[in-house]
């Protein structure tokens, strides 16, 4: 056979061209895989762990960060520190500040709903005269008066897309809005994984436990999860319930869902805390291993639960990298660099297949 193909007489015959075609196709696939890998490919890229890789990808769009001026001071307003997520983000901010040699002060509102207290913190920071301020707003509007004052004083302000930019610019504020996190994609990635796994076993009924119904993170994740489930014809979304990010509420909702639908096969939760509560409820109901539960955030407890096989999946996005990315953006903006639109951190699907590569995720 081989002899025939490569005889010079026959030149460029049909079989050879088919092989070249196949080779080209293979090459294309090989090149495309790394591009799509960001979302859900468990393969390690070179010597980097998934965390390092997604961190590098998250920084890529912003590009090189200019050296900050000497003694640059940055203020950060977080939503709360009563939650490991925000503590990790704080560590990210502090790490980036060390890396670039700037001073950083970080403050948070006493509770996740202390909108006025958060505005007061921002206004105090503006009065103190920082060179740059980063603020993670609680609602779309609560920080706008503070942004106006910061703009008047010429302070570089960085915030996220949840701020109502139209209202802000009408009021005379021009903070730099970052995309930061694609909540919709997170809900969708998780729900799609559960739907895929269920489809292998013939599908079934699924439910979504969302967070606080009015919160944009919750809305994005819920819509994503709904779309993820609805895209798979063999699974049927039967209920969407508000768990208010609360462990006890999610536990009770799960118990009640099983009361109404004993044949429930999958639950996508808008965060890991609720997902872990759902797994506890499932185990208490004697249905261990019969239900796929997905969460979002990849908190340490979820990592353990995934490697033990109690939790089907979680969607990881790094608050630590958010802190670093915002600091880098603030420095770049302060030094006059143009900031690209929609800067985001990369979300990664965590399942039992790649959980070992996520040990250093923070």
């Amino acid at each position: 056979m081989n002899k025939k193909i490569f005889t010079p007489k026959r030149g460029f015959d049909f079989k050879t061209s088919k092989r070249i075609g196949a080779a080209l196709l293979l090459a294309t696939i090989v090149m495309v895989i790394p591009m799509t890998a960001g979302l859900n490919n468990p393969v390690l890229a070179g010597d980097m762990t998934l965390f390092e890789k997604s961190r590098a990808e998250s920084f890529a769009k912003l590009g090189e960060v200019p050296m900050p001026e000497k003694g640059m001071r940055m203020g950060v307003v977080l939503i709360t520190l009563a939650n490991p997520f925000w503590v990790s983000m704080k560590n990210g901010y502090e790490n980036a500040a060390r890396e670039f040699g700037i001073e950083i002060d970080i403050q948070a509102a006493p509770q996740e709903n202390s909108t006025t207290a958060q505005l007061n913190i921002l206004e105090n920071m503006v009065a103190k005269g920082y060179d740059a301020i980063a603020a993670h707003t609680i609602t779309a509007h609560n920080l706008i008066p503070g942004f106006v004052k910061a703009t008047q004083k010429g302070i570089v302000t960085v915030t996220d897309w949840r701020v109502d930019m139209k209202a802000a610019s009408e009021a005379g504020a021009n903070p730099i809005p970052l995309g930061l996190v694609d909540y919709y994609a997170q809900g969708k990635i998780g729900a799609e994984y559960i739907a895929r796994e269920l489809a292998k076993k013939g599908g079934g009924k699924v439910a979504v436990i969302e967070g606080m119904p009015a919160a944009p993170q919750s809305q994005g994740r819920r819509r994503g999860a709904e779309d993820g489930f609805n895209a798979e014809p063999s699974v049927k979304l039967i209920s969407v319930q508000p768990g208010d990010w609360d462990r006890k509420k999610a536990y009770d909702i799960t118990t009640n869902l099983f009361q109404a639908h004993p044949d429930l096969k999958g639950i996508m939760c808008a965060n890991d805390v609720m997902a872990l509560a759902a797994t506890e409820a499932i185990e208490a109901a004697g249905k261990t291993g019969q239900v796929l539960v997905g969460g979002i955030d990849l908190i340490p407890q979820a990592k353990e639960a995934i490697s033990q096989g109690r939790l089907a999946c979680s969607v990881a996005f790094s608050p630590y990298v958010i802190g670093e990315l915002v600091t880098r953006t603030a420095i770049s903006a302060r030094m006059g660099k143009e900031i690209p639109k929609d800067l985001k951190v990369i979300s990664v699907l965590a399942t039992k297949d790649n959980i070992n590569n996520l040990a250093d995720w923070k």
Partner: protein, 341 residues
């Protein structure tokens, strides 16, 4: 009830207003309107969904209300002294952390639970000292300590949850004794004890006397300060007991546990007919109030009410429940007055 009668006479000599009426009211079941409302609510959910009316779901509702029942029992006793305890949620979080932390350190389960209850009692004791000895208003003291205890919980844990508790402990939250969930049994036993304390003990009489007329109670020889301190300590112990159930069910203790718990407990107590002005305590009313809140949460999920509408329904039901009870009581009182004429 000879005991009640004897006390009623003591009460009359106390010279307080409405005392005899209170005495008659307590010890007999007065919250019939509320109970009927709870049944109507249950009936409604049973019609709306075939999955609501079953023993299993009834057990679910009991388990889901257990925390509220226990915290509500403590709150009832506090409100009976015309006080309030806003630190219940924070005590729940901190005592759970003490318990779980000790368990993680390898201590025995029973010792850890006792330690958590002691911690809760101590936190309540501190509230009581603030109210009784320092004479600060209960609202301010407990609002302050609510912040302090929550902050301590965050500081101890660095906002990280403590999880992976021993099986022997988790059984309190998830186990069953025959067909009965242990957590529900615990809640019913505790509210039974609270009922006993309020209705049958001298301490219970003193609690109501202090709530109704502290000056009068003091002149009658009731140690008002001691009663107040004991009442807040009891509320702290109740919060710690509720914490055992929360922590055991969720297999996790965390600093943000029980956020807003105190408001739910107050809602259950007030819906149950205990007056904010003190002097009366309806433990059975609190039980039904807590069950109404639990039944609502359970039923709304089972009949699949969309998220945005759930708060709306809960608000309406709260008001309707109290209205139903008031209507029934007003009817009774009118009848009573007619008989007098």
């Amino acid at each position: 009830m000879p005991v009640s009668c004897e006390r009623a006479i003591t009460w009359r000599t106390l010279g307080g207003k409405l005392l005899i009426e209170n005495m008659v009211r307590i010890g007999r079941f007065q919250r019939l309107g509320l109970l009927i409302f709870l049944m109507v609510l249950g009936g409604f959910f049973s019609i709306m969904s075939p999955y609501f009316l079953s023993w299993e779901n009834f057990a679910n509702i009991l388990v889901q209300s257990a925390v509220l029942i226990i915290a509500g029992a403590g709150m009832t006793i506090v409100i009976a002294t015309a006080g309030i305890d806003l630190s219940v949620g924070s005590i729940l979080a901190l005592s759970g952390i003490v318990m779980a932390g000790a368990m993680k350190a390898g201590w025995g389960i029973l010792i850890c639970m006792a330690l958590g209850i002691l911690a809760g009692g101590f936190m309540g004791f501190v509230n009581g000292i603030g109210v009784a000895r320092l004479g600060i208003s209960p609202f301010i003291v407990t609002l302050g300590t609510a912040g302090i205890y929550r902050a301590l919980a965050l500081i101890f844990t660095d906002a990280r949850p403590i999880y992976g508790l021993p099986y022997g402990f988790r059984i309190v939250g998830t186990g069953k004794w025959g067909p009965l969930p242990i957590s529900a049994l615990l809640a019913l036993a505790l509210i039974g004890i609270a009922y006993f304390i309020i209705v049958w003990t001298r301490f219970g009489t003193h609690v109501r006397a202090v709530g109704d007329n502290p000056e009068g109670a003091y002149r009658m020889g009731v140690s008002v300060n001691r009663v107040l301190i004991a009442v807040y300590a009891i509320s702290g112990i109740a919060a710690a007991l509720a914490s055992i159930i929360v922590t055991a069910r969720l297999n996790t203790a965390e600093a943000i546990a029980g956020l807003g718990m105190e408001l739910e407990a107050i809602a259950a107590v007030v819906m149950g007919g205990t007056s904010f002005f003190g002097g009366e305590a309806s433990i059975s009313g609190t039980l039904i109030g807590a069950l109404i809140i639990g039944t609502l949460a359970n039923g709304l999920t089972i009949i699949n009410v969309p998220s945005y509408y759930q708060q709306l329904v809960i608000g309406i039901v709260f008001i309707l429940a109290v209205l139903a009870d008031n209507l029934r009581r007003r009817g009774l009182r009118l009848g009573f007055q007619k008989n007098l004429k």
